[in-house]
């Protein structure tokens, strides 16, 4: 999207491996992400793409290889893990809003208790973010009273409230009805254009075409192919990529 070649590397993964018991989910992932880049990760289910972005904020632990996020290496070190998590916002497929808290409290909870902001400041920032995602009037409602698209936009606002360096999206539109996908994607496109570093696991190829700097095709725990959206869509090198793209594009 933007020219990011001169920016610093913010995420660096070298030869990342992960096993679930005997099952080898990630089989040596290498990736470098620069500040401000928008990365789209796609691939068939079970390819390890969700697992991979969850290792970046250590919701999953990797067993081999190095992951460095914002200059901090991810190890068995609790303080670093929480530091990383305040720098990386995450948006989940199932929204995972806190059902017992109002929309506003969902957003202000972490800034108040983790960032130690005063309540006024947290609420002011929260309202600005709700404005940005287009639903300031829902602030006092409970998540259960919102549509899926609205809930996901609240989830994005909740992640942004921590003012993260990086945003991770784990299939953010997969649980949404078609007419709601657009409202969420619009917010994400706006975010990408504002210069946020984003890693997005998604099959929304329109989104990838519009804002992705690079795309990664995952299969069986490996990066099969990567490149600019132009390369991937018009000139894929690998047969697996071609097959997969033909399946999701002619769907």
């Amino acid at each position: 999207m933007t020219d990011t070649t001169n920016n610093e590397v913010i995420i660096s993964c070298k030869n990342v491996h992960k096993w679930y018991d005997e099952f080898h989910v990630l089989r040596g992932i290498n990736m470098e992400v620069r500040k401000g880049e928008v990365i789209v990760i796609f691939g068939p289910s079970g390819s390890g793409k969700s697992t991979f972005i969850r290792t970046l904020n250590r919701l999953e632990e990797h067993q081999e290889g190095d992951i460095i996020v914002d200059g901090i290496e991810l190890f068995h070190d609790v303080r670093n893990i929480e530091k990383i998590r305040t720098e990386t916002g995450m948006v989940f497929q199932q929204f995972n809003l806190f059902p017992h808290l109002t929309v506003l409290k969902n957003i202000t909870l972490a800034p108040i208790w983790v960032r130690k902001w005063p309540k006024d400041k947290a609420e002011k920032v929260a309202m600005e973010l709700l404005e940005r995602v287009g639903i300031p009037e829902q602030a006092e409602k409970f998540p259960g009273n919102l549509s899926g698209g609205q809930q996901q936009r609240v989830a994005i606002a909740r992640a942004l409230a921590m003012q993260p360096q990086i945003m991770l999206f784990d299939e953010p539109t997969s649980a949404l009805d078609p007419e709601m996908i657009k409202e969420v994607l619009d917010v994400m496109i706006e975010l990408a254009k504002s210069g946020m570093t984003m890693l997005v696991v998604t099959h929304e190829m329109g989104f990838a075409r519009a804002v992705a700097d690079r795309m990664y095709f995952f299969d069986e725990g490996l990066i099969v192919e990567s490149g600019s959206p132009n390369d991937i869509f018009h000139n894929p090198q690998e047969d697996r990529t071609k097959l997969f793209l033909s399946q999701i594009l002619h769907h």
Partner: protein, 405 residues
């Protein structure tokens, strides 16, 4: 356009007509049900008529009406009764203040108690203990709830004051009830003299308030990743749950006394309270653990993803949702704890039921009046249990607003 017109033209179907239709639908649909109705209706009428006649004509309620204070406080010295009154009034006042401050469910609870005391004050009982002074005190308690309400409504009054009030009231009440050695104003009153509803409420309220946090701690302990903690919690919970309450009561009242040196004797009532607490804590723990398991893992991931620590996640995300999920079970358990306190009779404590038994045994003439005594006791237990269950249902409905996802 045409479609909406058609929709508007359709009227709501007519309401089913009154009681005759109801009877035809429910009592006389088909010859089988008609026969059943004809046989059972006279029988039901007979049972109802004879119960009412028994209640108002045959029954001799003197075993109830002659001992109002005995049922209320047991042998607590009559010249020291004001000390019980102080504790009671304090609680009612706080109830009113909480209603004023927070409203909601507390409103219904406070009003229920105010009505209860107004009814007490006007009970048609003729007994020297139930004199004008006593009636005035009981009536004043109803007004105290209202007074508390208006004070609670004052905006500048901080909610934390009321919380602090609730925190110190049990301590103040216990100090007032037990008093001090060699004190003229508050002479010591041994717990052997405490009894009746006073003891029942102390055991139930004490058991609930103490067992709940212990239960939460045990539930968290059982899920802990530290093997020692989780093994201890599991063994504790499973041991207590595998033993009847009576056994635990005996253990605390007899065995504990054997092991401890005689000068450090723990009070009899306190030992019973400990037994009830431990018993209830084990069950609370399992309820809370069930609730913890019901919280979707996505919730914890979301909390972690915004950088919350394990402790913060537990306090703000997991525990509130877990408790809400198992609220009915927890209230159910409190209700059964309230009823289970009757077992302390076994270790010689005169709770409400115990007082009833001792009244029956006090006079051979009363042996014929057992039904009256037990019926009265049953009704009192039923009233309080039913109030708890209404409160629980209201609480569920209130919380249900935000449960949907």
């Amino acid at each position: 356009m045409a479609a909406t017109e058609i929709v508007q033209e359709i009227k709501r179907p007519p309401q089913p007509p009154g009681p005759i239709k109801w009877m035809r639908d429910n009592l006389f649909n088909g010859w089988g049900n008609t026969l059943l109705t004809l046989v059972l209706l006279p029988f039901a009428a007979y049972v109802m008529f004879s119960s009412i006649r028994w209640m108002f004509v045959d029954a001799d309620w003197q075993v109830v009406t002659n001992f109002p204070l005995l049922y209320a406080v047991g042998q607590y010295p009559r010249d020291q009764l004001w000390r019980v009154g102080v504790g009671l009034s304090l609680i009612l006042f706080l109830m009113g203040a909480s209603w004023g401050k927070w409203g909601g469910l507390l409103r219904s609870i406070a009003i229920a108690f105010a009505i209860l005391f107004a009814v007490f004050a006007l009970l048609p009982v003729h007994h020297p203990e139930f004199d004008l002074g006593m009636r005035l005190y009981l009536g004043a308690n109803a007004l105290l709830v209202l007074a508390g309400y208006f004070i609670g409504r004052i905006q500048s009054l901080k909610a934390s004051y009321i919380v602090i009030g609730w925190a110190i009231t049990p301590i103040v009440t216990i100090i007032f009830l037990s008093g001090f050695e060699n004190s003229a104003t508050l002479p010591a009153v041994g717990t052997t003299l405490w009894g009746g509803l006073l003891v029942t409420f102390l055991l139930a309220a004490g058991g609930i308030v103490l067992s709940f946090p212990i239960g939460i701690a045990l539930a968290l302990g059982r899920r802990s990743s530290l093997p020692v903690v989780s093994a201890f919690s599991t063994i504790f919970i499973e041991t207590i749950r595998g033993v009847p309450l009576i056994t635990i009561l005996f253990m605390f009242s007899i065995i504990l006394a054997l092991f401890l040196p005689s000068e450090s004797r723990i009070d009899r009532l306190l030992r019973a309270l400990m037994a009830v607490t431990v018993f209830s804590a084990a069950y609370s723990a399992e309820n809370v653990r069930g609730g913890l398991q019901a919280v979707p893992p996505g919730q914890i991931e979301a909390a972690k993803a915004v950088g919350m620590s394990n402790f913060q996640t537990m306090v703000f995300i997991t525990m509130p949702q877990a408790l809400r999920a198992v609220l009915p079970a927890i209230v159910g358990q409190f209700i059964s704890l309230f009823k289970d306190t009757t077992l302390v009779v076994i270790v010689g404590i005169n709770d409400f039921l115990g007082i009833g038994r001792s009244i029956i045994n006090s006079d051979p003439a009363f042996m014929q009046l057992q039904i009256e005594v037990y019926l009265f006791i049953a009704v009192v237990y039923w009233i309080f249990c039913y109030l708890m269950s209404i409160a629980s249902r209201r609480l569920e409905a209130m919380m249900g607003v935000s449960t949907r996802l």
